[in-house]
């Protein structure tokens, strides 16, 4: 498949936005139950939610560049019963609205207590909105992942690992962003976010590594023999029927050398996982807080390379029909 910049930006920015929100709310929820100290992190939730909203909005804008007819985008909520894309289109604005209300509750101070537990813990409006947002963030990860994982003949994508990768990589980048933000706005909470960033980056590396191993072992199900229905071990396409290009030759071939694709794989393994993990670890070892911002920049660049590879690696069976121009 040809990697489209709009979809690369859409999925990486949305993932980071969702992860950032999940990180902020995880901190709030754990503080609520007394696991973490809440002091000093209060201002962080609002700014993290605003940053998350900015990432989500940027991803949404990028998604419009993927559409041929963006003015009709509102129609895409119609087929939520069957289409994961339609479900994503519904969940994304619902999530953005929830994040907006969550940010508003923290920044305006309009945050009434809804329930007070016997132990003294108070569930305020922001916690309730945060819980709803967390569910929506996970639902959005599942929708995004399933858009790709549900296409059964794109075998590189047709795996639960695809959904796991979207969840783990998005959450990892979100925690890294939260760590960078905390280092700037709420240094006391940095350790929690940096720890989460390290954990999710390593989990993401394991999951993405597993899908790389799985995909390397795939054997094609469709062949030229099944594509044209002729049983002969030797079939060669002489012509695809025209000398010009077409949508089929543009959309489904990335047109890059195999060596470049391989190189991108090592680049994303380094930039999305190894380097950010090393930078976060260096921060724990006493490095300056700027290391976390560097980890975020490195990881976002690495995840864009990862997404490029994700599309380039997928081998669409229709390509069997376009093996020779003339």
């Amino acid at each position: 498949m040809r990697p489209a910049l709009s979809v690369i930006l859409l999925t990486t920015l949305l993932g980071a936005g969702q992860g950032l929100f999940l990180a902020a709310f995880a901190h709030q929820a754990l503080s609520l139950f007394g696991v973490l100290a809440a002091e000093g992190a209060g201002g962080l939730y609002g700014s993290a939610a605003v940053a998350s909203l900015a990432l989500l909005a940027a991803g949404l804008v990028a998604s419009f560049f993927h559409l041929g007819r963006p003015e009709r985008a509102w129609r895409s909520a119609a087929m939520w019963r069957t289409s994961w894309l339609s479900r994503e289109v519904i969940v994304l604005p619902a999530f953005m609205g929830t994040v907006f209300l969550y940010a508003a509750a923290h920044l305006t101070g309009v945050n009434p207590v809804l329930v007070r537990f016997a132990g003294g813990a108070a569930v305020d409006a922001s916690a309730a909105l945060g819980a709803a947002g967390a569910i929506l963030a996970l639902a959005l990860f599942v929708c995004t992942g399933m858009i790709y994982a549900c296409l059964k003949f794109l075998r590189e994508w047709h795996s639960p690992l695809t959904v796991a990768n979207y969840i783990l990589l998005g959450t990892a980048s979100g925690f890294t962003a939260a760590a960078a933000l905390a280092a700037w706005r709420a240094p006391g909470a940095t350790a929690f976010f940096a720890g989460g960033a390290l954990a999710f980056t390593l989990l993401g590396a394991a999951s993405r590594g597993a899908s790389l191993v799985r995909n390397a072992r795939l054997r094609p199900v469709s062949t030229t023999q099944t594509a044209i229905g002729v049983r002969h071990p030797v079939i060669r396409q002489i012509t695809q029927g025209y000398t010009a290009g077409s949508y089929n030759t543009r959309e489904f071939f990335h047109g890059q050398a195999k060596a470049l694709v391989r190189r991108v794989k090592w680049i994303f393994l380094a930039f999305a996982f190894a380097l950010p993990a090393a930078l976060v670890a260096a921060h724990f070892a006493g490095g300056p807080p700027g290391l976390l911002a560097a980890a975020l920049a490195t990881q976002m660049a690495g995840l864009m390379a990862e997404r490029w590879f994700f599309f380039a690696e997928a081998n669409h069976p229709q390509n069997l029909y376009y093996q020779a121009v003339a």
């Binding site: 498949m1 993927h66 559409l67 041929g68 007819r69 963006p70 009709r72 985008a73 129609r75 895409s76 909520a77 119609a78 087929m79 069957t82 289409s83 994961w84 894309l85 339609s86 289109v89 858009i147 549900c150 296409l151 059964k152 003949f153 794109l154 199900v221 469709s222 030229t224 099944t226 594509a227 044209i228 229905g229 002729v230 002969h232 030797v234 079939i235 060669r236 396409q237 002489i238 012509t239 695809q240 029927g241 025209y242 010009a244 290009g245 077409s246 949508y247 089929n248 959309e251 489904f252 669409h316 069976p317 229709q318 390509n319 029909y321 376009y322």
Partner: protein, 243 residues
């Protein structure tokens, strides 16, 4: 239930592209049109087509065979492109099983083309919507045409009658009979899409002759091996065989 479909006979397709050009002509000026081309007379030209004819070489020289392979939307009975469409623009008609795109609803997200293993859908670069074979839905029901003309343009154009059109759910139809009796097969059956369009395989007419069939024992023309004519009093060959 009706399922209209094409049955394409690879045994008689000569790869003349008449179906391609007549499809383009009809559909660029019909209800589905236009099917625009980009820089049609330039070097980097491209265009949208519903139907393409490809050519394959089967086997190794000198035992090779050329197969011309017309390729268009197969109007799958379980089309993977339909459920993924977020707007409902891509749909399969209940009444005749034709898979269509509503060009007024399509947002050009290309997801349906990713979901089609056959590459049967092409994005129209000018109108930015997905296009595909309609089985000439604007023609096959047109009561103003002669009944014999109510067929897809490609079927009418084929000079060798390699393309048959009909209802594959009607066991008495020409297409059902062809699939049943001539070995019609679907493409990429491994994905469970149940394509409605079928292809008829290349067929060879072979006669097996045993060596002893090359000579007839009683061949009257074998004059060189003729035995001396028996005398009138002796029994003749005719007596022997009738006995």
């Amino acid at each position: 239930m009706t399922q209209l479909a094409l049955v394409i006979d690879l045994n008689v397709c000569v790869g003349c592209h008449a179906c391609v050009t007549s499809c383009k002509e009809w559909n660029t000026s019909g209800e589905a049109g236009p099917l625009p081309d980009t820089k049609a007379y330039g070097e980097q030209y491209a265009g949208t087509f519903f139907n393409r004819v490809q050519t394959y070489e089967v086997g190794c020289f000198p035992d090779t065979e050329t197969v011309h392979f017309p390729k268009s939307c197969l109007h799958c009975e379980d089309p993977p492109c339909v459920p993924v469409c977020p707007t409902g623009a891509s749909h399969k008609r209940k009444e005749d099983g034709i898979v269509l795109v509503d060009y007024d609803k399509c947002i050009g997200c290309k997801y349906c083309s990713w979901a089609c293993p056959y590459g049967a859908r092409e994005l129209d670069d000018h109108n930015k919507v997905m296009k595909k074979c309609t089985l000439c839905v604007d023609r096959i029901y047109d009561a103003s045409l002669e009944p014999r003309d109510r067929k897809p343009a490609c079927v009418l154009a084929c000079p060798t009658s390699a393309r048959l059109f009909g209802d594959i759910h009607d066991p008495a139809s020409e297409v059902s009979r062809a699939i049943r009796e001539e070995g019609g097969y679907p493409l990429m059956p491994e994905w469970g899409t149940h394509p409605a369009n079928h292809y008829l395989p290349r067929r060879k007419t072979r006669v097996s002759i045993h060596a002893d069939e090359l000579e007839r024992a009683d061949n009257p023309l074998k004059v060189d091996r003729q035995q001396p004519r028996p005398a009138k009093s002796e029994p003749t060959l005719d007596d022997a065989v009738t006995w």
